[in-house]
Amino acid sequence: MHPYFKEMAEFGNPLKKGEIKRTEKNLEALKAEEADIAEAVQAVENAGFPAEKINARGQLTVWQRLEYLVDPGTWCPLHTLYNPAENEEGTTNVVDGIGKISGRWAVIIGFDNKVMAGAWLPGQSENILRVTDLAKRLNIPLVWLVNCSGAKLPEQEKFYANRRGAGTPFYRHAELEQLGIPVLAGIYGTNPAGGGYQGVSPTILFAHQNCNIAVGGAGIVSGMAPKGHFDLETAETIIEKARQFKAKPPGSVKIHQDETGFFRYVFETEEGVLDGLKDFMKKIPAYDPEFFRVAEPKAPAYPAEDVYRLLPLEPKMVYEFDAVLSRLVDGSEHMEFRPDYGPEIYTGLAKVDGFLVACIGNRQGYLGKDYPEYADYPGFGGKLYRQGMIKMNEFVTLCGRDRIPIIWFQDTTGIDVGDAAEKAELLGLGQSLIYSNQSTDLPMMLVVLRKGTAAAHYVMGGPTANRNNAFTLGTAATEIYVMHGETAAVATYSRRLVKQKDAGKPLEPIIDNMNQLAREYHEKSRPLFCARHGLVDELAPIRDLRRYMEAFAGSAYQNPKSICPHHHMILPRIIKG
């Protein structure tokens, strides 16, 4: 199929002199936003004890372990700022992302041993759910760096139980294993109770010589004689038992290698554990990339840095989506699907690192006075109309048939509304797209370039509306909300304004409420809010978007559950005609 894929049509143009000059402020503004995000990321990385203190105990920090474990240049962090329960520690206390180990992609997650020796914290199980789902969706191994002191006991009611609570990773590990997805675990430190199950539930255990895993730790063993109260006598007993178990906590290597054999391998050094994981990753089933590549990998013809000029931070400003995409795909080449239909939506095939991917994105700006054809008002990009919705349904369905992973790019203000839109079946077509997405059973990735709004955020590959979204990225320009804050204020208070007016009462209190609501919408839609509350899985610097696309494509093609031979694909033929 090289006539189709080796060299596709080029798109995009170099920036012109005037364009560079007038976009200088936008570039500076986006980079300033990214600097704020980087500062927040730094704070998470610095949470807890300093690295020197951990190193002085003869241990590496989770970040140092990751640096040693992951192939240089391949780490794509996820959920760095995720902290849905707003923990005072500033973190859910796990660090995760996608990276290559020994040349193979894996989902990697570790407890932050700088913070309460890697304790369970509120929100952590939601974080781990995203990670196990990611391994499942991409069908790649999950690699754990276990170092978990168990629950943060004073806050256990927030996470211990519940359908999505802290124990759920154990059955999710079982679920992955039943799907043939291995879970490898390097185990460090003291891992009692929840930490013990974190340690024992993976597929193969690589233990550090000083680690332990146990049903209960020293704290539980020494405090198991409830009398209804504490007194001096019980305090003395607790002290004695605690001393004894501190010296010799249960579940050491002596027990779990020599007696139970749970630990497959034991290593004397921290690095030895990681070397063991690296060695085993070489044994993981993975296709050589050549098996699925449709062309030699190529850098885009134009620099990713251009996107800082092409993507306006100002949410009302229109821009050219195709120009942005041309900075992200191999050779700035593509095959556009139905360019003469549904002009508000781009659909096309492109290559990322030599792999075929499908791209879908919102085009911006005026669509001409005759579009949408069903209405007497002009169409504007960012909105979804009948043709665009039909085109996405067709494209997604064909991608499912041809087994082509999909990368979505959202900058949408929503689906067109009003009786004309209803007559044009947009409600039904939106749900059709949700059905189409769910039917594909394909890995999908979403980049919310700027706006993710209303049901359009769902139907365009959003994580809320399908099981196929592997991860969602935001940028420094991202804002996500059900509708714009001012629109919400009007929807909430318009009738109140009428009543107030009719009653001859002052309007100012209502206006104050409207302004307050609009301000709150703004604050609760900003990139940092989106990342902390999991509306996106990570805020990626714009210059790193392609790296994440490469990680996604490489992961999706590493060990796919189903294959469409290139010469059996129908979508490229439909595009060619």
């Binding site: 002199k17 005037g18 007038r22 009302k316 229109v318 911006q364």
Partner: protein, 71 residues
């Protein structure tokens, strides 16, 4: 030789950056038009001097109206 800057769509002028006699460069921002809650920039089509500006901020324009002329 002169070149006209046409309104690409109907809308309201919310920003006008040209003055008669200004030297301008191709692709500099000339106007911003607001329609459907979105702002559409209109760029200078060529290097030259602004010969006339036919609109001001707040004006409603129709598609293809001549906004300015560059000489």
């Amino acid at each position: 030789m002169s070149e006209e800057i046409l309104a690409p769509l109907a809308g309201k002028i919310v920003k006008s950056l040209l003055k008669v006699g200004d030297k301008v460069e191709e692709d500099a921002e000339a106007f911003i038009l607001e329609a459907m809650k979105m702002e559409t920039p209109v760029y200078v089509p060529c290097d030259g001097t602004v010969q006339s500006v036919n609109v001001k901020v707040g004006d409603e324009v129709a598609e293809d109206d001549i906004l300015a002329v560059i000489e």
